[in-house]
């Protein structure tokens, strides 16, 4: 597979190590003052020109949040977060659309380049072209991209092409106006505003995110993708994504995240809601590479994310795949409520922690429908002085006759200063259901390293190869381009952790 060679090349190329996505972009910003109160919530809503019902919804969430306490059950530690010391709204200043690439803020273009977005798409994202270009001969199928810059969606590509097949892909702030009935019906239907502390916070202050609607029987003609980036200082990012796939529809959605290198911790509290109706399929892939902080644990993103999908209809399927290498703290449990009979939930996860990173991540599979099936494959890699926890719930409700769950949970420790933890919760209330859970812990064996080096691989290449092998069952679930990026990330993240 060429991807692995690229991994090796990347490792070789990055001689200094460190976080290569850690650039910050100097762009004029429109920012709300620091702090959080009802007025800020109103201000956000006003900036977006939101209808009254949405403001009311936000305020209700805010009131609920005020009464809640930060959850403390995860195996993470951090100094108290001062929620009044953050900006809750930051957006690049709007200017009239540029006529050509020359007029585009070069900093923005440079950012897209660093994000690895192809040139043509960079131009589209910057608003130069109308956002609708057919793929040329022999090119890879296009990917429609929504770029969320701090809290605001800056551009969405290929919208017209998608619209031809009835697919809606736009910023959620826009969907509120263009498709209010859909947003009103589904927003908060999977993750209610008061679901948990961070979801309530998000519901009160979310400023943008992606909205996807796939109508009945439509197979989305291209991959949909969102790049999230936190750029401004002292801002929290609270994006909100809502994906609805009607009967028999199909979509594959990719999400990538980066942030600049900063000394202070930044808060990211997103909510993602997925709704899959009868025979619908949603594949949601994430490569999370927020800034993880430096070797001493200074700086980095606090990533407190609520992701949940509901398989409403029979034979619907939601598949989560995540590669988590970034963030100082990751608190994230992409979940599936398997309501429909014969519905399928999947969770494939690679979580890498090094230095002082802490990850507490896993999933919840709630089996309600008959013969609903879930698969969980989690690969945790701990290095440095980090802590890496898998936390997962499998709950079989009483009516879930013939439900099945299989969980495989493997931890790899690199070095003797890190921790690897596995905390599964298995709750079964139906005798005809079957659940299986397996977990193992291992290290990279000295003889594996020696074997590779005897064949000519350097120590770091050997580690990269073995780690990628360890994660293979998850990586193969990623769409091709993401898999390549993920493999590179794994190797780069673990650089210098052995030997």
């Amino acid at each position: 597979m060429p991807a692995v060679t690229e991994t090796l090349d990347t490792v070789a190329a990055v001689t200094e190590g460190g976080y290569k996505w850690g650039f910050s972009t100097d762009i004029e910003m429109d920012m709300a003052p620091k702090g959080l109160n009802e007025d800020i919530v109103r201000l956000i809503s006003e900036r977006k020109g939101e209808p009254e019902w949405l403001l009311a919804w936000r305020l209700k969430a805010f009131a609920a949040w005020l009464k809640m306490e930060e959850p403390d059950w995860a195996k993470i530690h951090h100094p108290p977060i001062d929620y009044q010391d953050l900006h809750y709204y930051a957006a690049p200043k709007k200017k009239p659309g540029p006529k050509s690439l020359d007029e585009v803020d070069p900093a923005l273009l440079a950012m897209y380049e660093k994000l690895g977005i192809p040139l043509r798409e960079r131009a589209i994202l910057a608003g130069v072209e109308p956002g609708d270009v057919e793929a040329g001969e022999g090119e890879r199928p296009p990917v429609a991209i929504d770029a969320v810059f701090d809290s605001v969606s800056v551009a969405t590509t290929f919208r017209a092409t998608l619209a031809k097949s009835g697919v809606i892909f736009c910023p959620i702030s826009e969907a509120v106006h263009s498709h209010p009935e859909l947003v009103k019906q589904y927003l908060g239907s999977v993750v209610p505003a008061g679901d948990n502390y961070f979801a309530a916070l998000n519901s009160a202050v979310f400023s943008d995110g992606s909205f996807v609607f796939i109508p009945k029987g439509v197979r989305c003609p291209m991959e949909l993708s969102t790049y999230f980036r936190i750029n401004a200082r002292n801002t929290g990012q609270f994006e909100r994504t809502l994906i609805i796939v009607e009967d028999g529809g199909h979509v594959s959605y990719l999400e990538g995240c980066t942030a600049p290198q900063r000394d202070e911790n930044q808060l990211h509290a997103a909510v993602v809601e997925l709704v899959a109706m009868t025979d619908a399929t949603i594949k949601y892939s994430t490569v999370q590479n927020w800034y993880p902080g430096d070797a001493d644990g200074k700086g980095g993103i606090y990533n407190f994310v609520t992701k949940r999908g509901v398989c409403r209809g029979a034979r619907s399927k939601i598949s989560w795949t995540q590669v988590e290498t970034g963030s100082a703290i990751t608190w994230k449990y992409p979940s599936c409520i398997l309501q429909g009979d014969d519905s399928v939930g999947e969770f494939y996860s690679v979580a890498v922690t090094t230095n002082r990173q802490q990850a507490d991540t896993g999933t919840k599979m709630i089996h309600i429908g008959k013969r609903s099936k879930s698969t969980i494959v989690s690969k945790g890699i701990s290095a440095g002085r980090s802590d890496n926890t898998y936390r997962g719930l499998v709950r079989i409700m009483k009516g879930a006759d013939g439900a099945r769950n299989f969980t495989q949970c493997d931890s790899l420790l690199i070095g003797d200063q890190c921790g690897a933890h596995t905390v599964p919760y298995i709750e079964s209330r139906n005798p005809t259901a079957k659940t299986e859970h397996e977990a193992t812990t291992s290290k990279i064996a000295d003889d594996q390293l020696f074997y590779c080096r005897q064949r000519g691989l350097s120590q770091e290449d050997a580690v990269g190869l073995i780690v990628n092998g360890f994660c293979k069952d998850v990586l193969k679930e990623l769409p091709m381009e993401f898999a390549v990026e993920a493999q590179k990330l794994l190797a780069v993240s673990l650089e210098g952790s052995v030997g």
Partner: protein
């Protein structure tokens, strides 16, 4: 619900504290340690459902009963005693938590002291049920085996009763100290009639090269509460080898903390829980690997019928120093009824890289193919099910080396099966 249950937990805790205030002058032992325990209990109270370790076992039913001090000295426990298996070993009998010399045998090979407990250094007052025990413990057996001595087997019996006319609670405090290279098999049987609350703590110190085999049969009365804790510490090359069978009680929890302190120390924490009706039973273990090359093995089987609820929580902790740890844990559950429920939480917490740790958990019903196979060979359905359940349990039962004790467990399981049918 949480708020209500929180209040009732506080009320129940207050009544235990009131009992202590009334009794403290009369309770023997180290009054300073006792007061520390009372302080800890006053501070912590009873465990509630918001605590991670107690999320699946809610003590609310315990708070619905007012428990009293067992005041009357009972003379007639003939039925309970007659029902004990004859294993040809000396027995130490406690009735409602009080030692009864007249019903007990002399033990050779080990020194046995009874009466007000000496708490020793490992009091673990952070554990709420241990703090409650230490606050109210008035009796217990302290068994000491000298270095190099094989003390054979001893039976430790607890019978609870309803002869007082009011529900009683008792909090016996036992200790087992094995010197270097010593050996002891302790067969613990908990049984009784009526409504009572048995809250025993057993502290085991297993020195280098010593072996403690701890076989436990919990057959408490249908209305009884059983919340027990074992705190075991094992030295180099020592072994704590335990099997717990839970059959009785309305609400029970057996909690075992095994700490492996010396190189190559070893712990076996096997268990079987067979539950019916609306029973709730919880087997919770914490194995701490604190030295290199230590090993732990846990095989825990649940068979649930009726509307019963089974809980397994097992945690393997591997400290940074405990390289070459070998930890294994398997929890399997058979759900034999549409109303039964299992909550299982096997857990690994690992801080050393050169270790071999794994756990597994499965939940399901009896294998339909196996059942059909047996029936097609002429085995009646009920017998076939029994056969398969016994086969399912065998992995946990077979390692019991003491044949008499194993036979007694098998018999108790057979009787349980009869009752379910």
């Amino acid at each position: 619900m949480n708020a209500v249950s929180q209040t009732s937990l506080q009320a129940a805790a207050a009544s235990f504290r009131a009992r202590y205030e009334g009794l403290k002058e009369r309770l023997g032992g180290d009054s300073i340690q006792r007061a520390e325990a009372a302080d800890a209990f006053a501070h912590q109270g009873l465990p509630g459902p918001r605590e991670e370790a107690w999320r699946y076992t809610v003590l609310r039913p315990l708070t619905e009963v007012a428990f009293h001090e067992p005041v009357v000295l009972l003379s007639d426990c003939a039925a309970g005693l007659a029902a004990l298996p004859d294993l040809g070993m000396p027995r130490l009998v406690f009735i409602d938590g009080r030692f009864r010399a007249d019903l007990s045998d002399a033990v050779t090979g080990a020194e046995v002291r009874t009466g007000a407990p000496a708490f020793g250094p490992s009091v673990a007052l952070g554990e709420k049920m241990v703090a409650l025990n230490a606050m109210l413990a008035e009796d217990g057996a302290a068994i000491t085996v000298a270095p190099g001595v094989d003390a054979g087997a001893v039976m430790l019996v607890s019978l609870g009763s309803d002869a007082h006319g009011v529900p009683v609670s008792f909090h016996p405090r036992h200790s087992v100290v094995l010197g270097k290279g010593a050996r002891l098999t302790l067969v613990e049987i908990n049984a009784g009639t009526g409504v009572y609350f048995n809250n025993p703590v057993l502290v085991a110190e297993v020195a280098e090269d010593a072996t403690l085999v701890h076989l436990r049969m919990q057959q408490e009365a249908a209305g009884a509460f059983h919340l027990s804790t074992v705190l075991a510490e094992v030295g180099a090359r020592g072994t704590y080898d335990s099997f717990s069978l839970a059959l009785g009680g309305r609400l029970s929890r057996v909690e075992v903390h095994a700490t492996l302190l010396g190189e190559k120390a070893m712990a076996h924490l096997n268990a079987a829980q067979l539950l019916g009706g609306s029973q709730h039973s919880d087997f919770t273990t914490i194995v701490r690997h604190h030295a290199p090359a230590t090993a732990s093995r846990q095989t825990v089987k649940n068979v649930l019928t009726g509307r019963s609820k089974g809980v397994f929580q097992g945690k393997i902790e591997v400290a940074r120093i405990a390289q070459k740890t070998d930890g294994y844990q398997m929890n399997q559950t058979l759900l034999l009824s549409g109303d039964a429920e299992i909550d299982s939480k096997p857990q690994l917490e690992i801080y050393a890289d050169d270790v071999k740790c794994s756990h597994g958990a499965t939940v399901g019903e009896l294998d339909a193919d196996q059942l059909f196979y047996l029936r097609s060979r002429g085995v009646p359905a009920e017998q076939a099910r029994n056969l398969l359940v016994r086969a399912f349990l065998s992995e946990a039962l077979d390692p019991i080396a003491h044949e008499g004790a194993r036979a007694a467990m098998e018999a108790a399981i057979a009787a349980w099966w009869e009752r379910q049918a």
